[in-house]
């Protein structure tokens, strides 16, 4: 087990959103404010780690023919836990994310890691994989959120910073409201931002690969 290598894979070379292109639906839909992105990212990170651990524990018991159904049952259990915990303790976040928390059940990242990693590796390695992939997902969400929120509404951390109740806070105003490019807060803006990020990531990866080849 190599924590550094797995972290690098999760963050960069096998980033779940930018390289594996998984979990696009939630990425496009909820990345409108830093508050949303962080909440969603941490929820997925927790669920991904727990489901990876459990599926890895059960990997010798689960029959191969019905494995997907079994994974879904495990994942759905954890998603329900997180959903109820958010409703109880941070209702503002729960309201803001809405249906996208229950939808984590069918998030491809979690099912993908269960199928590709947790069902073949030890419990400890699967736990680390869950954390690393979760961090990779959270990082992309946060970058997209900050970008879209800053240029779209001109604020940073709406719902979290700037006084007021959690979820209703105005955020720190950085750009005057009239300059906000509102299209970035709309679904179109999600596609544009994600497209630009994926392109930048591919560009950087290709460049790094070329350098490696040249060095050889």
């Amino acid at each position: 087990m190599n924590f550094g290598k797995q972290l690098k894979e999760g963050l960069i070379s096998q980033n779940p959103v930018l390289v594996q292109l998984l979990g696009m639906c939630s990425t496009l839909a909820i990345t409108t404010s830093f508050f949303n992105g962080l909440g969603m990212g941490i929820s997925v990170l927790v669920i991904l780690t727990l489901s990876n651990i459990f599926i890895s524990l059960l990997r010798k018991i689960i029959p191969n023919e019905v494995r997907i159904a079994c994974y879904i049952v495990v994942i759905a259990g954890f998603v329900t836990c997180v959903d109820l915990i958010l409703k109880a303790f941070v209702p503002a976040l729960s309201n803001s994310l809405g249906v996208f928390i229950p939808l984590i059940v069918v998030n491809c990242i979690i099912l993908g890691r269960a199928e590709a990693f947790a069902s073949k590796n030890s419990v400890a390695a699967s736990a680390v994989d869950g954390i690393c992939q979760g961090i990779g997902y959270t990082l992309v969400l946060v970058i997209m959120c900050v970008f879209r929120e800053l240029l779209g509404s001109g604020t940073f951390g709406a719902g979290l910073l700037g006084g007021g109740e959690l979820g209703a806070a105005p955020g720190l105003r950085i750009i005057p409201e009239q300059f906000g490019i509102k299209i970035l807060t709309m679904p179109v803006g999600g596609f544009l931002t994600l497209g630009a990020l994926i392109a930048a990531m591919q560009w950087a990866l290709t460049k790094a690969n070329n350098k490696k080849k040249e060095a050889k």
């Binding site: 300059f179 906000g180 490019i181 509102k182 299209i183 970035l184 709309m186 179109v188 544009l192 630009a196 392109a199």
Partner: protein, 336 residues
């Protein structure tokens, strides 16, 4: 006597006879064709129309130069396509639009819509119209503020000081037919609207120039305008004359500007003549449908953008028959 020893044999592949026409000369023709409309809009809206156009052109050139420089690609501002995009972008915006908004619009037009797809000839949407669509979605309040032409704007006045009025299309949408300007005003262009769209006369002059210079073919503009005219004629509401309604529909809004300068963009319109006719008819139908049934009073921008997205389909299914091929082969070629 010919010195055969020193005679150079130049071997090159066909075509051997080339015209001097290139992107730069075509774009220059388009710019010339737009000048009457620009002049008319300066006359109608005052010098601020020119200022806004210049800002738009300068920012388009800047983004094009900056992106190509940053990506270490060859500079392409010499082909003047960015100037055309800049002028067209200004033409589809209201004259009271703040200068920073048009800089942002130019960024989307040039960098996002054109350069990210590979630069000139590779974009699948008309850059100027896509820029406008993004501005409408982002700054709806600025983009729907129409200055009444009687009010000459100060050069750097704030948008709040001007009187605004409805465009003819908005009046038509509300059914307020008796408040409409006269047909003559509509034709000359002393009406409210986007910067470059007001004067049908000036735009027609530019269009005729482009067709004579063979920069554009007649298929798209004629099919587009004719479709709008025919559909408006047969579907006119009861409380206005059918011919009047048709004339207002054809002269109002950005139809002339769109049909002559936007829909005919080489990169985003079909290659074949039948394809161009279908493209024009599709634009016309969509325009009328959006104007009549949509929530916006004007549909030219979106209808051209939607048809831009269908261009690959039209090019795929409408292929020219092979010259001189037997009938059977022709059919097979068409089926492919």
């Amino acid at each position: 006597m010919t010195d055969y020893k020193n005679l150079k044999l130049i071997a090159s592949s066909s075509p051997h006879i080339r015209s001097n026409e290139d992107t730069r000369s075509i774009m220059l023709d388009v710019i010339i064709a737009m000048l009457p409309a620009l002049g008319m809009s300066i006359y109608v809206f005052g010098i601020q129309a020119l200022v806004l156009t210049l800002i738009s052109v300068a920012s388009c050139l800047f983004w094009e130069w900056g992106y190509r420089k940053l990506m270490k690609k060859s500079s392409s501002i010499g082909d003047l396509s960015a100037v055309v995009t800049g002028m067209l972008l200004a033409f589809v915006c209201p004259v009271s639009l703040p200068w920073w908004a048009i800089v942002i619009g130019a960024f989307f037009s040039i960098v996002v819509v054109k350069q990210l797809y590979g630069g000139i000839g590779c974009n699948f949407l008309n850059p100027a119209l896509a820029g406008r669509a993004i501005l409408v979605a982002s700054y709806a309040s600025f983009m729907t503020q129409w200055v009444t032409p009687a009010e000459k704007l100060p050069i750097f006045g704030s948008a709040a000081d001007v009187t605004t009025g409805s465009t003819p299309l908005a009046l038509m949408k509300d059914g307020a037919f008796n408040e409409l300007p006269t047909i003559r005003e509509m034709f000359l262009g002393t009406i409210g609207g986007s910067l470059g769209e007001v004067s049908a006369l000036a735009l027609l002059l530019g269009g005729i120039y482009l067709i004579i210079r063979k920069v554009i073919s007649w298929q798209i503009p004629v099919a587009y305008i004719a479709t709008v005219a025919v559909v408006s004629l047969i579907s006119a509401p009861a409380n206005i004359g059918a011919v009047d309604y048709m004339l207002y529909s054809v002269l109002g809004g950005g139809l002339m500007l769109g049909a002559i300068f936007m829909a005919t963009d080489y990169a985003t319109s079909p290659v074949t003549k039948p394809g161009q006719l279908i493209f024009g008819i599709g634009c016309g139908l969509l325009t009328v449908f959006i104007r009549r049934f949509g929530s916006y009073p004007e549909g030219v921008c979106y209808s051209i953008l939607i048809m831009n997205c269908c261009t690959w389909l039209l090019d795929k299914y409408i292929k020219p028959t092979i010259y001189g091929a037997p009938k059977k082969e022709k059919k097979e070629a068409a089926a492919k």
